[in-house]
C-alpha cells in the first residue's frame, strides 16, 4: 500500500514539474560514480566539510554530528546508506547538503556537487523503467538534454524509520 502511495507521489513529481512552467529544479550530486539529484526545495544549505564528531554506537551510515552555527546536525553518509561503499571518504570536493528532515535538519555527505538541472516533464522517466520493485526513495530518472542520467531521490522515506 505504502509503496503504491509512493508511486503516486513519484508521479506527482512529474505533475509538480508541470506546475512550475513544466520545469522543476534539481540539484545533482555524485555518490561514488553515480549521479543523483534531489529537488532543490529540500535543500537548506550546501556546506563545505566541517569537523564532524563521531558518535559511538550510532548506525553505520551516521558519520557523526556537527555544529552549524550553534545547531547540532547529524550527518548521514548516503553512500553507506545506499550500500555503495563500506567506508566513508571526504576530500576537497566533498560537500554536506543540509536538508529538512522530520523535526530537524540533517546533513547528507556527498562526494561532489554537480549543478542545478531544470527538468521538464519530458525529461523525467518514472522509476518503473528500472524494474517494478524500486526502493521508496527513488522517484524517477532524470534525463536532462546534456546527456546526464540522474537518479531522482525523495528524501522523506530515508528519514521515516
Amino acid at each position: 500500500m505504502k509503496g503504491l502511495a509512493r508511486r503516486i507521489e513519484g508521479r506527482s513529481a512529474l505533475q509538480r514539474a508541470d506546475e512550475i512552467g513544466n520545469r522543476a529544479e534539481y540539484l545533482a550530486f555524485m555518490l561514488g560514480n553515480e549521479a543523483y539529484a534531489i529537488e532543490i526545495g529540500n535543500i537548506v544549505e550546501i556546506l563545505k566539510p566541517l569537523p564532524i564528531t563521531e558518535i559511538p554506537r550510532a548506525d553505520p551510515d551516521v558519520v557523526g554530528v556537527m555544529s552549524v552555527r550553534g545547531r547540532l546536525v547529524a550527518v548521514l553518509d548516503l553512500k553507506r546508506r545506499f550500500r555503495l561503499a563500506r567506508t566513508f571518504t571526504m576530500d576537497r570536493k566533498s560537500r554536506i547538503l543540509l536538508v529538512n528532515a522530520v523535526e530537524e535538519e540533517i546533513g547528507l555527505l556527498v562526494d561532489e556537487v554537480l549543478q542545478v538541472y531544470r527538468l521538464s516533464e519530458a525529461e523525467i522517466e518514472p522509476p518503473t523503467v528500472l524494474g517494478t520493485e524500486q526502493p521508496l526513495h527513488v522517484v524517477g530518472i532524470g534525463r536532462p538534454q546534456a546527456g546526464a542520467v540522474l537518479m531522482l531521490l525523495d528524501l522523506a522515506p530515508l528519514f521515516e524509520e
Binding site: P51, R57, S67, M90, D91
Partner: protein, 845 residues
C-alpha cells in the same frame, strides 16, 4: 526554522492571539483547580468559604467571556452552565455538597481536554461535556430557596432588606443562621477621603466580622460628607467590636432580635432611616465614587469571612481585657488629606494588584531556548577572546623583552638610533592595550555569566505547578476507588526548569495512581492492620546540590518481592533461573519493565502494565533516575532525582581513545588516578576497591567500542584528505589514566578514561530525532573551534554497566549478578563525601 514562516501575516497574528488565549485559559483553569481543592478541603471540614466560591465564579465567568471571544463554542457553553451553578451556590440557592464539587472538578478536567483538543491534542470530549451539562441541569432543578425567616426575626428596616442584593441577603441569612450578632454602624465620611477611610474601616472590622452591606443613609451629610449605614455580622460583643472600629463620627449599635429585644433597646436606636422611597429618587448627587471604589460590591476582601466560618474558632481577640481605646488607630479626621492612616496602605494594595497584572510576561519557552543558544555562542566568543588576550599579552612580553635587549645593546654601542625614542612609548602603548583588553575581557566574562544565570532563573518555575494538578488527580482517583487519601505536599516552592516540570506530570501521575491503587489498602484492611483509616500520600520535593529530588511516599501495604517476582515470571519477564539470583532491589526494579503488572485484569486505574515503564522512560529522558524502597506493611517510597536544569551544566571533559567526552559534573563523585593493578576481576567483570568498598569499573573505550579505530574518526583512514584536528596528537601508550567515579541515585560506577582535560560550563543541546535512539548520550555541546563534544548520560551508562558484563557482549550476562554488586555497594552511600582524603584527586577541582 524555515517551515514555521509559512502562512500569511494575518494567520500568524491570529495564531498568536489564539496561543495567548490558550495559555490564558490554561492559567485560569489551573487557578480554578487550585481554588476547588481548597474549597474541597474547607468543605470536608464542614465549613464554607464564600470568597472562594466567588473566586471560582469569577474564573468561570472570565473563561466564558474569553471562549466567547474566540468562538470556542463548547467551552463557552460549559462555562455558561457552570456559571449558573456557581451563581446558585454563591447565593445559597443550592448547597456545596461533594456531588456538586465532583461536577466542578469534572468540569476542570473537561476544560483541560477541550483546550487540548483545540490544540490538536486528542478529540473534543463532546459526549462528556453533554453528560456534564445534563448533570448540571439536574442540580439546578434541586435548588430550593433559603427561608427568610431568620432575617425576619431581626429589627431590620424592611426598606433596607428591599435594597439588599440577592448575594448580600444570602450572606446576611447565612451569618444569622450561624448565630452571629448583627450590628449597625453609622459613619460620617468626608467625600474627599471616603475611599481610604472606608478601606481603613473595613480593615479594622475584618478581624471581627463580616460587612454585609453599606448604604448611604441620605441624612447627616452635606456637600462634603456623606453618612453610610453599615451592617456588620460578628461573633463578638458590642464592646469588642465597638473598640475595634471606634472613632469620631461613628456610632454602633446592635440590631436585636424582635422577640428578645427589650423595649428600651428600641429606644436606643437612632432616628429611623428614611424609607427607601425617599432615597431612591435622590441618590446623593454629590456622591461620586472614585474609580476603584465599588460601592455595589459589598464584599471584596480575602479573609473577611473569618468570623462567619462556623468550623473555625473565633480569631484571637487582641487586647480584650483592656479598655484602651487609644491602642486602636483612630480613624482619619474628617478633613485629613487622603494619605492618612489607612490611605497609603490601601493605595499600596491597589498598586500591588495592578502590578501583578502588568509586570509579568508570558514567554514561549522556545524563545528562551533561543536566547540560551545565543548565550552559548557568546560563551564561545568569550573563549576566543580569552585566547586572543593571552596571545596579545604574550606578544607584549616578547616585544618589551626585545626592546629591553635592544636598548641595552644600543646603549653599549653608544648609538641611540631611530628606535631609541619610539621604543619606550610604543612599548607603553602596547602594555596599556593589553591591560584594557584584559579588563574588558573580565567584564565581558562577568556579565555573560550573569546573563546565563538570569536566563536560567527565568526558566525556573516552582514544582507547585505540577503538584496542583496531582492534588486534583488524587482527589479524583481516591473517590473513584472509594479510598480516603490525604495528600501531604512539602517543598512545592522548589524550583526546576520549566521543561522538566512539563514532562513531570505524566510520570508523577502514574506513580500516584499506583500508590493509590496498589499501595493504599481499602478501609477495612487498614482498620484490620491498625492503620489510620485515611491513607496518606506524601509528595516531597527538595533541592540537593545540582539536583531536585521528588519523593512519592505512601503508607500502604508496600511491595512484596515474592509477589512481584511471581507476577514477572508469569508474564515471562524473568526466567526461574534468573529469579533465583535476583536481589530484593532488583526485584523491585522489575516493576519498571514494560508489560509488568501484578493485576490479572486491567482496572480503570492501572494494571495495563504500562505506567511504571513510562515513568522510568520519561524520567530517564530528563536525565533523572527513579529509585524504589519499600517495606511490606509499611509503605513504598519512590524517589525521583532530576537535574535542576536541562540547559547549562558543568561538565568534566575527558578524553578516551582520542575522543573528547563531557561527563556531567553533577554525577561525578571524584576522579582518581587509575592503575591496572587496582583491578580485580569478579565473575568476569572488573571491579576495584575504593575506600573499602567495591566499585564496578568500566573502560569507556570498551563500552563505546572505540579501540582499534583511529582516533577522532572525522575522516576515513583510506582517504588522502584533511587530517582531523590535532586531538590525537599526544603520544599513545600513556602510562597514566584516570577513573572518573560517577554516582547517580546511590549507584556508582568508575569509568576509566585516558585523560582529564578540565571542567567547563556548557550549554547542552539535544541530539536530533535521528540520533535519539543512540544510547549513552544526554546530548552534545560545542566546545569551541567548531568541535562538538558528546555529553555522556551518566544515569544510562551506569545502568548499562550494572546490567551487563562490561565490554564483553559475547558472553551473556547473568541478570542476577548486578544485584550482588548492588548489595556490596550498600555500605558506601557517601556522595562526594570524604573526597578530600583521596590520595590523588583528579586535576579538575
Amino acid at each position: 526554522m524555515a517551515e514555521h514562516s509559512g502562512g500569511g501575516r494575518g494567520d500568524s497574528a491570529g495564531d498568536k492571539a489564539r496561543e495567548e488565549f490558550f495559555s490564558e485559559a490554561q492559567e485560569i483553569v489551573d487557578g480554578l483547580s487550585r481554588d476547588l481543592l481548597v474549597l474541597d478541603e474547607v468543605c470536608r471540614r464542614g465549613g464554607s468559604d464564600a470568597e472562594l466560591v466567588n473566586d471560582v465564579f469569577r474564573a468561570v465567568h472570565t473563561l466564558k467571556g474569553l471562549s466567547g471571544l474566540f468562538g470556542a463554542a463548547m467551552m463557552s457553553g460549559l462555562s455558561h452552565e457552570l456559571e449558573n451553578l456557581l451563581d446558585d451556590l454563591r447565593l445559597g440557592r443550592i448547597e456545596l455538597t461533594p456531588q456538586v464539587l465532583d461536577l466542578l472538578f469534572q468540569s476542570v478536567e473537561l476544560y483541560g481536554r477541550i483546550l487540548g483538543a483545540a490544540k490538536g491534542d486528542g478529540p473534543e470530549p463532546a459526549a462528556e461535556v453533554k453528560a456534564l451539562l445534563a448533570a448540571l441541569g439536574q442540580v439546578a432543578q434541586q435548588k430550593g430557596g433559603g427561608g427568610g425567616s431568620v432575617v425576619a426575626q431581626y429589627e431590620l428596616d424592611p426598606g433596607l432588606l428591599g435594597v439588599l442584593t440577592e448575594y448580600e441577603e444570602h450572606r446576611l441569612r447565612t451569618n444569622l443562621q450561624a448565630g452571629l450578632s448583627l450590628y449597625r454602624m453609622r459613619v460620617q465620611f468626608q467625600l474627599a477621603t471616603i475611599d481610604s477611610a472606608l478601606d481603613d474601616l473595613k480593615a479594622r472590622t475584618r478581624p471581627h466580622g463580616e460587612i454585609i452591606t453599606f448604604l448611604p443613609t441620605g441624612e447627616g451629610g452635606d456637600a462634603e460628607s456623606v453618612e453610610l449605614e453599615i451592617l456588620v455580622a460578628s461573633r463578638e460583643g458590642l464592646s469588642v467590636l465597638g473598640e475595634a472600629v471606634a472613632g469620631p463620627n461613628l456610632t454602633i449599635e446592635e440590631v436585636r432580635r424582635r422577640d428578645a429585644a427589650p423595649p428600651a433597646a428600641k429606644e436606643s436606636i437612632r432616628p429611623p432611616r428614611p424609607a427607601l422611597s425617599d432615597m431612591a429618587p435622590a441618590p446623593l448627587p454629590s456622591f461620586a465614587p472614585p474609580p476603584g471604589f465599588d460601592v455595589p460590591q459589598t464584599i471584596e476582601t480575602d479573609d473577611y469571612t473569618e468570623g462567619a466560618r462556623t468550623s473555625r474558632p473565633p480569631p484571637p481577640m487582641s487586647p480584650t481585657g483592656l479598655p484602651s481605646v487609644q491602642s486602636f488607630p483612630p480613624p482619619p479626621p474628617p478633613s485629613a488629606p487622603p494619605n492618612n492612616a489607612g490611605g497609603p496602605q490601601a493605595q499600596r494594595e491597589r498598586e500591588l494588584t495592578l502590578r501583578s497584572v502588568t509586570q509579568t510576561v508570558r514567554v514561549d519557552i522556545r524563545k528562551l531556548d533561543h536566547l540560551m543558544n545565543i548565550v552559548g555562542e557568546l560563551a564561545i566568543v568569550r573563549s576566543a577572546v580569552s585566547r586572543l588576550t593571552e596571545r596579545v599579552r604574550l606578544h607584549e612580553t616578547l616585544v618589551s623583552g626585545r626592546a629591553e635587549a635592544a636598548e641595552g645593546g644600543w646603549s653599549r654601542a653608544g648609538d641611540a638610533g631611530p628606535w631609541r625614542g619610539s621604543a619606550g612609548p610604543r612599548d607603553g602603548e602596547l602594555r596599556e592595550l593589553v591591560t584594557s583588553l584584559t579588563r574588558l575581557h573580565r567584564s565581558f566574562d562577568r556579565h555573560l555569566t550573569q546573563m546565563q544565570n538570569g536566563i536560567l532563573e527565568v526558566r525556573m518555575v516552582p514544582l507547585g505547578q505540577v503538584f496542583d494538578k496531582l492534588a486534583r488527580i488524587v482527589r479524583q482517583i481516591s473517590r473513584e476507588h472509594d479510598k480516603q487519601v490525604n495528600l501531604v505536599v512539602t517543598g512545592a516552592e522548589t524550583e526546576i526548569d520549566k521543561l522538566i516540570v512539563e514532562e513531570l506530570s505524566d510520570p508523577l501521575m502514574h506513580m500516584i495512581r499506583n500508590a493509590i491503587d496498589h499501595g493504599i489498602e481499602d478501609r477495612d484492611e487498614r482498620m484490620r492492620v491498625q492503620k489510620p483509616a485515611v491513607g496518606t500520600i506524601a509528595l516531597n520535593a527538595f533541592q540537593k546540590g545540582n539536583h531536585v529530588v521528588i519523593e512519592v511516599e505512601d503508607d500502604g501495604k508496600g511491595m512484596d518481592p515474592p509477589v512481584i517476582l511471581a507476577a514477572a515470571m508469569r508474564r515471562g519477564l524473568v526466567t526461574e533461573a534468573e529469579a533465583r539470583e535476583m536481589s530484593a532491589k532488583d526485584v523491585l526494579a522489575l516493576v519498571f519493565q514494560p508489560g509488568f503488572t501484578t493485576r490479572e485484569e486491567a482496572t480503570s486505574l492501572s494494571g495495563r502494565g504500562v505506567g511504571m515503564d513510562i515513568v522510568k522512560t520519561n524520567i530517564a529522558k530528563l536525565g533523572g533516575v527513579v529509585d524504589i524502597t519499600s517495606e511490606v506493611g509499611i509503605g513504598t517510597k519512590m524517589t525521583i532525582t532530576l537535574p535542576i536544569t536541562l540547559a547549562i551544566i558543568s561538565v568534566l571533559i575527558v578524553e578516551v581513545a582520542g575522543r573528547t567526552f563531557c561527563m556531567p559534573l553533577a554525577s561525578v563523585e571524584e576522579a582518581i588516578v587509575f592503575d591496572d593493578s587496582m583491578v580485580r576481576t569478579f565473575e568476569g567483570r572488573e571491579v576495584m576497591t575504593q575506600r573499602g568498598a567495591t566499585l564496578p569499573i568500566a573502560r569507556l573505550a570498551k563500552v563505546f567500542q572505540l579501540e582499534g579505530h583511529r582516533a577522532g574518526v572525522w575522516f576515513n583512514e583510506d582517504a588522502k584528505t584533511p587530517t582531523p584536528p590535532a586531538v590525537s596528537a599526544r603520544p599513545l601508550g600513556r602510562p597514566k589514566s584516570y577513573v572518573v567515579i560517577a554516582t547517580v541515585a546511590g549507584r556508582r560506577v568508575g569509568f576509566v578514561v585516558d585523560r582529564l582535560v578540565g571542567q567547563q560550563d556548557i550549554v547542552i543541546k539535544a541530539l536530533g530525532r535521528s540520533l535519539k535512539k543512540v544510547r549513552g548520550f544526554a546530548g552534545a555541546t560545542e566546545l569551541g573551534d567548531q568541535r562538538v563534544g558528546l555529553v555522556l548520560d551518566a544515569a544510562a551508562l551506569i545502568a548499562e554497566v550494572l546490567a551487563n558484563a562490561p565490554g564483553d557482549s559475547a558472553r551473556p550476562a547473568p541478570v542476577g549478578a548486578s544485584g550482588e554488586i548492588a548489595v556490596v555497594r550498600r555500605s558506601d552511600d557517601a556522595v562526594g563525601g570524604g573526597a578530600a582524603g583521596t590520595p590523588a584527586r583528579g586535576g579538575f577541582a
